[in-house]
Structures are given as C-alpha cells and as structure tokens.
C-alpha cells in the first residue's frame, strides 16, 4: 500500500467520501455533533474577539481541524490523561471540559478554568486530567511521563499527547519516542499534521514528509491517515488507544489543515505563506462537510436535525458568552500562595520534627575521591 502523504492526498483530489460501513449511527452523530459544536464555538469566538476586545490573550483557533479531537473524545476516558500544545480548544473539548470555563478563562475571569491565570494557550482542566501549554513539544514529554506513571502504578489508563507536526522539529520529541518504545508505554501521540508551523511549511523545516517513518524507526507503532475523515480518524485512534492500553505506544499522524490564521482572529494570508488553492482544496475537504454528506446519504442526518443541533449549540455558546462576561474578575493575587504550596500534608503525616539543636553538627572531614 502506498503511504499516505500530503502529496498523495492532494493528488487524489476531492476525498472519495467517508465510509459509514459498519458505523453505528450514534457514533457518526457523536462525531458530527462534536465537530459542529467546536466549529461554531471557534467561529463565534473569532467573531466576538475584536469588536469586544475582552478576550485579551493569544488564541490559536482550529477551524478545519475538528476531526481528530472528535475521534479522541469518543475513545478517551475521564481517568486518561491528555496533554496538548498551544492550539487547545479541540483537545479541551475532547476531554469533555466545559465550554463556560473555557470562555471565562479567555475573558480572564475568576470562573475560568484556571481563574484567568492561563488563558487559551495554557489552559488546563485538572479535574479531567487535561493540560495544555504553549511551549512546543513540552506536552509530548509530559504525556510520556504520565504514561510511565500508569505503568508503574499498574493502572490501565493511558496518556495522550496532542500536537502538530512542528513539535517533531524539536529534539525533545525523539527522546520521547525512544523512551516510549523502550518501556512500551501506554501512550498515544496524536499529531495533527497541518503542514505548517506558524507560517513555515514542513518542507522548509524537514527534508521529507515522513514523520511516521521516523517514529517507526524509533520503535513506535505508527498510523498515517487522511485526517479529515472523522470516521477513519475514529477507527485509527480507537486502534491506537486499544494498543496503548496493551502496552504498545503509538503515533497517529493525521493530515489536516488549519483554515484560520496561526494565532488570533485575523486571517494571516497576507503573509503569502500558503497558496490560496491549497486552502481551497482543504476547505473543499472540510471534515464536517465530508461527514455530513455521508450521513445525509445514509439518512442519518436531515435539515431538521441539523437545524436542531445548530440551535442547541448556538444556545450553549450564547450562554457561555453571557457567563464569561458576567463573571467576576479575579481577586487580587497572593503571589506567594499562587507559586508555592502553603501546606505539606504528606510531609506532616510521614515525617517527624526534631530539635536539631540536640545533635552535634560538627563535621568530621575526609578527602573526597578524585571524580
């Protein structure tokens, strides 16, 4: 079989169609609903960003990249860990974290997921084991450690890292691949290859479009797919996750595309960094439209159902905006308490206080050895 690559996907032209063979209707609907909700959410945030100028933080939107997170959302468990990069919203929703807390966080409010300390690009939702962060490749090593912990604890939970192809430029990425394969960790690396790091195309940074091949050489199981087929993404992620639970670390490389600018609500195509027909090609292969077509053909979706869905989502979004805007600002910060724990419950429990004065602190000396 020929390897899927960005070139092979372009060469194929419009995607022949999502196959729903053997797919439960609820599953298709769940994927569809997740993607539509994420899409509308992003569109609304983009629309609201500048007129209001109240979301004062860098935001990396993910229009066009809805499918992988949709797939993951149906496979990952609450106890599993998910660590992701700067483009957080898709991953945040994949873990089931609430929209209100996201919006309020972006508005810098006390009710935000992190009380306004993190914003969009560093948001976390610890109660659901979700953590984002904006330094490239950081989440990959951290997920690897969380997976190692599961192994040491004998749990059957896994850790997932969500990131873009840019993360594989960093050496830290390959340390993680080596270690995951060495220890056979329960970890899945989900790489959304959207072809660009900011504005720099992959071929400007890497000699070949072969991240999966490299990872395979490191001993990790790899899957390379056309990412905008949400059903295929679901099958692939399911397989990778099942493998990970059985101790087979995996990398899924899903080719996709970002419609919006790299950061912020503005379009950044003035930078001339990508051909407009490339963008057009990928919009023509919209993951939502592709699934919608298949579902419509299979009579799993009709205008009325879609309309109802849209209304439901619009209402949730309106509520989230209202919640965020009406929420209180954070109280004045106690810097020390924010940066350092004020309690040490485990030490209190396990360790004794001794009066050091009662011990002779005189040191006997010896000559240290040469190395």
């Amino acid at each position: 079989m020929n390897r899927v690559s960005r070139e092979s996907i372009r060469a194929q032209g419009r995607y022949p169609g999502v196959s729903l063979a053997g797919v439960a209707p609820e599953l298709a609907m769940a994927l569809y609903r997740f993607m539509l909700r994420l899409r509308r959410c992003e569109e609304s945030l983009i629309a609201e960003y500048h007129p209001a100028d109240q979301m004062r933080c860098p935001v990396h939107f993910c229009l066009g990249q809805e499918s992988v997170a949709a797939a993951l959302s149906l496979v990952i468990r609450p106890e599993d860990y998910l660590f992701c990069h700067h483009r957080t919203h898709n991953w945040y929703f994949a873990k089931g974290a609430p929209m209100k807390a996201l919006f309020a966080e972006m508005y810098g409010r006390a009710t935000g997921a992190n009380g306004g300390l993190s914003g969009s690009q560093e948001i976390s939702y610890p109660a659901l084991n979700f953590y984002g962060g904006a330094i490239l490749t950081g989440s990959v090593g951290i997920a690897t450690g969380a997976a190692r912990a599961q192994q040491l604890l004998g749990s059957d939970h896994i850790a997932v890292a969500g990131f873009g192809e840019g993360a594989t430029d960093e050496g830290a990425f390959w340390e993680a691949m080596n270690y995951a394969a060495l220890r056979r960790l329960p970890v899945v690396y989900l790489c959304e290859n959207n072809g660009y790091a900011t504005w720099s195309p992959q071929h400007k940074r890497q000699p070949q479009d072969n991240i999966s091949q490299k990872a395979a050489a490191f001993g990790v199981q790899t899957y390379t797919i056309f990412g905008n087929d949400a059903v295929l993404a679901h099958q692939t992620v399911s397989q990778a996750v099942a493998g990970a639970r059985a101790g087979q670390p995996a990398l899924v490389e899903a080719y996709t595309y970002r419609w919006n600018g790299h950061v912020g609500p503005e379009n950044d195509d003035v930078q001339n960094y990508r051909p407009l027909e490339e963008l057009a090609f990928w919009k023509d292969n919209d993951p939502i439209a592709l699934l919608e077509e298949a579902m419509t053909n299979a009579r799993l979706l009709d205008a009325a159902r879609k309309q109802a869905l849209e209304q439901e989502i619009a209402a949730e979004i309106a509520e989230a905006f209202a919640f965020a805007k009406q929420s209180p600002w954070p109280l004045p910060a106690d810097w020390r308490a924010l940066n350092y724990s004020q309690e040490t419950p485990r030490a209190d429990e396990l360790l004794s206080d001794v009066e050091s004065g009662q011990f002779d602190q005189h040191q006997d000396e010896a000559i240290p050895g040469p190395y």
Binding site: Y131, I135, I142, G145, A149, A172, L338, S341, Q361, I367
Partner: protein, 324 residues
C-alpha cells in the same frame, strides 16, 4: 549519636522515602549500579527494583518532562544528575513547565518533584563538570532550592522535599560527600526557609550557603585566635531564604560577609547583601563584603583551581577587612 557521611545520609533519606511511600521513584543515569552515584543510591535497586529505581537514557530533557507527567499522575519522582552541568538540557522542562505548573493551574495541580544535583569540584573537573546555578533556581519562581551543608540537613531536606508539594532542587556539593556528622535514624524533616546558627559570635556575621559553611567554620576557628568572634549562619535553603535569621544575626553583630560557592554577579551573595541593605543597611558598622567564586568558568589545572576556589584564608582576609 551515630554519624553518617553526607552520601550515606542521602542514601538513608532515599531508602526511607521509598520505604514510607511506594509512590516515590528514583531516576537518573546509573542509579541502579553498585557504586550508586557516589554511594547515594547504592542498594536501592536491589531493594525496590529497577522499575522504581530507573537507569535512564542519556536524555535529561525527557527525564525531567516525564517527571512532571509522573507527578501529575500521583508519583513523587526523585531525579539525580551526577553533575549539575548535565541538567542544562532540562532547563526548558524546569522553567517553562515545572516551575509554573502549580501557578497556572491555580493550585489545582502541584508537582512534588525532587531534583538532586551534584556540583563537581576539584581533580580538574573543569568548566563543564563543576558549575552551580543555585542562584538561577532561586531567581525562578515556583522552585524551592536547598543547599545543604551537613549530612543532617541533607537527609532532612531531601525527605521534606520528597514529601512536600512543590518542585525542589537539592544542590549537593561533591566536596561534602565524605564529611560526616550526627544523623538521627528516624525520618525527620528540615524545613525550607529555616536557617541555623552554626557558630554563635558577637563581632561579625558570616552568612553562608552549602560548601561555604564548613570553610567559614574553619575560618572562624582561626579568627577566634585573633580575637574576632565570628557568627556563622547557615541559611540552608536559597529559596525561600531565612531572612529573619539573617537580619537577627546582623542586627546583633552589625557586620556582614555574605558567602556563597557560586559566581559573583547576581548570585546568592548579592541577594543576601541586598536583604540586609534594604532592611537595615544603615545600621552596619562597615560596608559588607561578598565572598564568592569569581565571574569565571572553572579552570582545570590544579594550581588554577587553588586560585579559583575561595578557601579559609580568603575568608579570614575578607573578615579582617570588614573588621577594619
């Protein structure tokens, strides 16, 4: 009372921690070999297995990011670097992630990670095997930094760190490893931000960290013969720093030498001096003095090492200068 060497005290701290809580894991290159990082991990692998006592690939960056993930998932990892110099690869993991994790999760998630780092000295370690950057760690918010000078403190601070909530760097100076002092057998704690008076004195305060402490004590002995009664305080932890102890001592002696086995500019001696200056600078009877390494990398040749590292006599000279 039983005496242990500094290295033995570390070993005992790790053994007790692993015994007390099976969430404690140790990772680092060669931690599972017999010689056990200068004896500090010897026996752990035999007792707790090579899963919990893990020889690591030479990948300090991953080792540190992975420790974050482990801590998030409920473990209490201890990392070991045979030389501090090897940890520079891990500074992204430390500064961009570990140190700010608690902060940006608004305290919902904290990281009890202990990073043991050994600072090389002597026998021509040279510029790539002898650096100490405890001042960097003190400068970076979100980390606790211990610079223990005695076996007693080292054991207590390591245990306190392992069973605390925040990421902590333990700076272990190689020259201290074979020095011994009284160490209780129980699992005890030494708290961060609590220094100790190692030698009471009336005339001048020598505020020290780490390997500067035994040197200062020896110098104090000499100076006593000259009629100078020097108080030596061991601040023990660079962050938080025991400001109260420092100010109390200087308030009494009205004279200060700030001693730190680290580089001069923007180092811990500057911080100590700034604390005194902003709180009670005008009470001093003489301008204070810093005793540090020069702003230079470490030379290899033994004769240059001699010149590079401050010794007892250098301390005595500095003290005499302040005494006027």
């Amino acid at each position: 009372m039983r005496k242990l060497t500094y290295a033995q005290a570390i070993n005992e701290a790790l053994t007790q921690a692993m015994e007390l809580d099976d969430k404690v894991v140790v990772a680092g290159q060669l931690v599972d070999y017999k010689s056990g990082i200068f004896g500090t991990t010897t026996g752990l692998a035999e007792r707790y297995g090579t899963q919990r006592v893990e020889d690591y690939p030479v990948a300090e960056s991953l080792m540190t990011s992975a420790a974050i993930g482990q801590a998030v998932a409920g473990l209490r990892p201890v990392l070991v670097h045979q030389r501090l110099d090897f940890m520079f690869y891990s500074l992204d993991a430390i500064a961009n992630w570990m140190s700010l994790w608690r902060f940006k999760s608004q305290g919902q998630s904290s990281l009890p990670v202990t990073i043991r780092v050994i600072v090389g000295k002597g026998w021509g370690q040279g510029a790539q095997h002898s650096k100490s950057i405890h001042a960097w760690f003190a400068h970076l918010p979100g980390l606790r930094v211990a610079v223990p000078a005695t076996a007693y403190d080292c054991k207590g601070l390591i245990l306190e760190s392992i069973f605390g909530q925040d990421p902590t760097v333990i700076i272990e100076h190689r020259s201290l490893f074979s020095m011994s002092d009284e160490v209780p057998e129980m699992a005890y704690r030494v708290r961060f931000g609590q220094g100790v008076v190692r030698r009471p004195g009336q005339d001048i305060t020598f505020a020290a960290l780490g390997f500067m402490v035994p040197l200062a004590l020896r110098a104090a002995g000499k100076l006593a013969q000259e009629g100078i009664d020097m108080e030596v305080i061991d601040l023990r932890t660079a962050y938080p720093l025991d400001q109260r102890l420092l100010l109390r001592s200087v308030n009494k002696t009205k004279r200060l030498v700030a001693g730190d086995y680290g580089w001069h500019t923007a180092g811990m001696a500057a911080e100590i001096m700034a604390l005194v200056s902003e709180n009670m600078g005008r009470k001093l009877l003489a301008d204070p003095v810093r005793m540090t390494l020069p702003d230079s990398h470490t030379p290899m040749s033994a004769v240059l090492e001699e010149q590079y590292y401050p010794n007892e006599e250098d301390i005595c000279k500095a003290v005499r200068r302040v005494m006027g």
